[in-house]
């Protein structure tokens, strides 16, 4: 709110990007205990609604404010050329330089804006009938649209990233449900309780929602279980351990098991994004292990 106030006082309105960032921040700090199952859905819908509101009403404004001729009257590339001339002669400002065929110029000059207005007006369909393809096409369209704004010297960087939040990259929760037999299985997680990142990673996953008999073991407490794991040759300083069906998952495998089977809020979404892909996780997990060791050294705590 402070930043919004600052921005408004400095002469800039609060636009969709600020609203979405604010929304994500608020949802990130709301306790996850509150309706955990629906939490990711609320995050997703809120972000999507802000987009839909802003773009749809922007489209409505074009109907109210413009005449039919004015819908085809935004000469993007003429403006670009005028700005380039100012840049070359006065070194004023900077814009993308364009070298495209004449036909593209004509289309962009006279049809580009009208097409954008129509896409704006169709934004509610994005919310009411969500399909991955539609979301992807909208993301693609607005990414191209925001790159084109570079031709008039403006770049909406946040748009490229925030749109990614609403593209569903994980299977839906309903497909991810487990049978009662699976839910009754005993699962053990052995992790370093002194490492706040490891604790947050485990807690954020809310794995207990899925496995009723989940047991979380702090490796520093030297329990029989953790000693057994160490005796079997697993170095708990090099990775966490998950025991399921008497099978030991170690390091990247264990972390991926927790991330992919969990359900939580934004931080879980973040962890899940990092570890979702096996190949990427193989690179990321060792980095996280190194960072944990650095942290422990920094705060003066020893290894396990």
């Amino acid at each position: 709110m402070y930043l919004w106030g600052f921005i408004y006082r400095a002469g800039q309105d609060i636009d969709a990007m600020f609203l979405i960032q604010g929304c994500l921040f608020v949802l990130a700090i709301v306790p996850r205990k509150w309706n955990t199952d629906r939490y990711p859905g609320y995050v997703y819908s809120s972000v999507l609604l802000i987009f839909v509101f802003y773009y749809f009403f922007s489209g409505v404004n074009k109907i109210i404010d413009l005449s039919i001729l004015e819908w085809f009257q935004f000469e993007l590339f003429n403006i670009n050329k005028s700005m380039l001339l100012a840049e070359h002669e006065l070194k004023y400002h900077a814009v993308f330089e364009v070298d495209v065929p004449d036909l593209f110029l004509i289309i962009s000059n006279y049809v580009g804006a009208a097409a954008t207005y129509l896409v704006h007006l169709g934004a509610p369909l994005l919310f009411l009938y969500r399909t991955k393809l539609k979301l992807f096409l909208y993301w693609l369209f607005y990414s191209i649209f925001h790159i084109l704004s570079g031709f008039v010297g403006i770049l909406f960087t946040a748009n490229f990233f925030i749109w990614l939040v609403i593209i569903p990259i994980f299977p839906s929760q309903s497909k991810n449900r487990v049978s009662t037999r699976e839910a009754d299985k005993e699962i053990y997680i052995i992790y370093d309780g002194e490492c706040p990142f490891c604790s947050d990673f485990v807690m954020a996953s809310n794995l207990r929602n899925r496995y009723k008999n989940l047991k979380i073991v702090n490796a520093r407490e030297k329990t029989q279980l953790s000693q057994n794991v160490i005796q079997q040759g697993y170095d708990l300083n090099e990775g966490m351990v998950v025991i399921k069906d008497n099978k030991i998952l170690f390091g990247t495998e264990a972390a991926r098991f927790i991330a992919l089977n969990g359900s939580g809020g934004l931080s879980h979404w973040f962890y899940k994004s990092m570890l979702y892909n096996q190949a990427i996780a193989n690179y990321i997990y060792p980095v996280l292990v190194v960072l944990r060791k650095r942290y422990l050294k920094l705060v003066g705590k020893g290894l396990i």
Partner: protein, 313 residues
């Protein structure tokens, strides 16, 4: 009963719209005179009243087609209320775009739209509310939907209006430009070797919109803007920006370099060596440079002498 109510409502609104248009059409000159007189009565000078004169003066008389379209749109709106149809919605949207061609001022377009579509918006608002209320099961979803439904229809109720501080959207990109012409109004730095460099938007970091920062200061505090204190303010900004300029970076890139979040308005420094140390600044100039029909004109609107010693006090 309800349909009859909306029928009368539509009739009343179309009548109001026609009266408004006739009034503006016939009495536009008087409106300008009265508003100017009112403004001068309160002690303001004529230039302040210019936007109002622009707003009220109609360069061309409203054509009879305006009234015909107003009546047709209202009739179609009533038909949509009676039996909603996508085809009719598309038709009415198309007719609004044609109607706008006959009305010059955006405020008048907004006003007419508001009057003609008010019955439709109220009717659909209550229907949408009922729909969502019955569809959702849990309390939280109901509340969230009620909130969004209220915002949605409230925005439609007053066209083009957004509650400040939220962004009201760009009205429309109707810029038509000659690629051989340009107009630039901005602040530039004059160094002691008599060369100039622009005082870039990213120096005003974190607000990096071109011309927005100094424009806002000018609007908020005119006295400060034209005083020597403003030159000290610019001095401060340049002092902050200079260390990164020396390294060939924007002030927004001082920590993360090229991986830093890009400023809203593009900025780049093709030749950073041209930005000299602060003690070599002679003055700051607010200039307007216009190139039209091949002729370039430069006007210095204001100049602030650089006096670092005064600033240090």
């Amino acid at each position: 009963m309800k349909i009859n109510f909306y029928g009368y409502f539509c009739l009343m609104m179309v009548f109001t719209a026609i009266v408004l248009l006739l009034f503006v059409d016939v009495y536009a000159e008087y409106l300008v005179m009265w508003s100017t007189a009112l403004i001068t009565h309160f002690g303001y000078t004529v230039p302040i009243s210019t936007p109002i004169i622009d707003m009220l003066s109609l360069s061309s008389q409203l054509s009879v087609f305006t009234y015909i379209f107003v009546i047709i749109i209202s009739i179609i709106n009533y038909r949509i209320i009676r039996a909603p149809s996508w085809k009719l919605v598309l038709l009415v949207v198309f007719l609004v775009l044609i109607l706008n061609s006959f009305i010059e001022h955006i405020w008048l377009r907004k006003g007419v739209f508001f009057l003609l579509f008010l019955p439709l918006v109220i009717c659909f608002s209550s229907q949408a509310h009922y729909y969502f209320k019955t569809k959702t099961q849990d309390k939280v979803s109901k509340r969230v939907l009620l909130l969004f439904n209220t915002i949605f229809w409230s925005i439609l109720l007053i066209p083009g209006f957004y509650l400040p501080p939220f962004f009201d959207g760009i009205a429309g990109w109707t810029l038509s430009k000659n690629p051989q012409e340009y107009e630039v109004t901005d602040i530039r730095i004059k160094f002691d070797d008599s060369h100039y460099e622009w005082f870039r938007a990213s120096f005003f970091n974190p607000l990096t919109m071109n011309g927005r920062s100094f424009g806002m200061i000018k609007r908020r505090d005119r006295e400060f803007f034209y005083s020597s204190e403003f030159s000290c303010f610019l001095h401060g900004l340049y002092t902050n920006a200079y260390p990164s300029l020396k390294d060939g970076k924007l002030p927004t890139q001082s920590k993360l370099g090229k991986f830093a979040y890009s400023p809203h308005t593009f900025d780049s420094f093709p030749d950073t060596a041209r930005y000299l140390p602060i003690h070599r600044i002679r003055s700051y100039q607010l200039v307007k440079i216009v190139k039209k029909e091949g002729i370039k004109e430069e006007n210095i609107l204001h100049e602030w002498e650089s006096n670092i010693k005064n600033c240090e006090k």
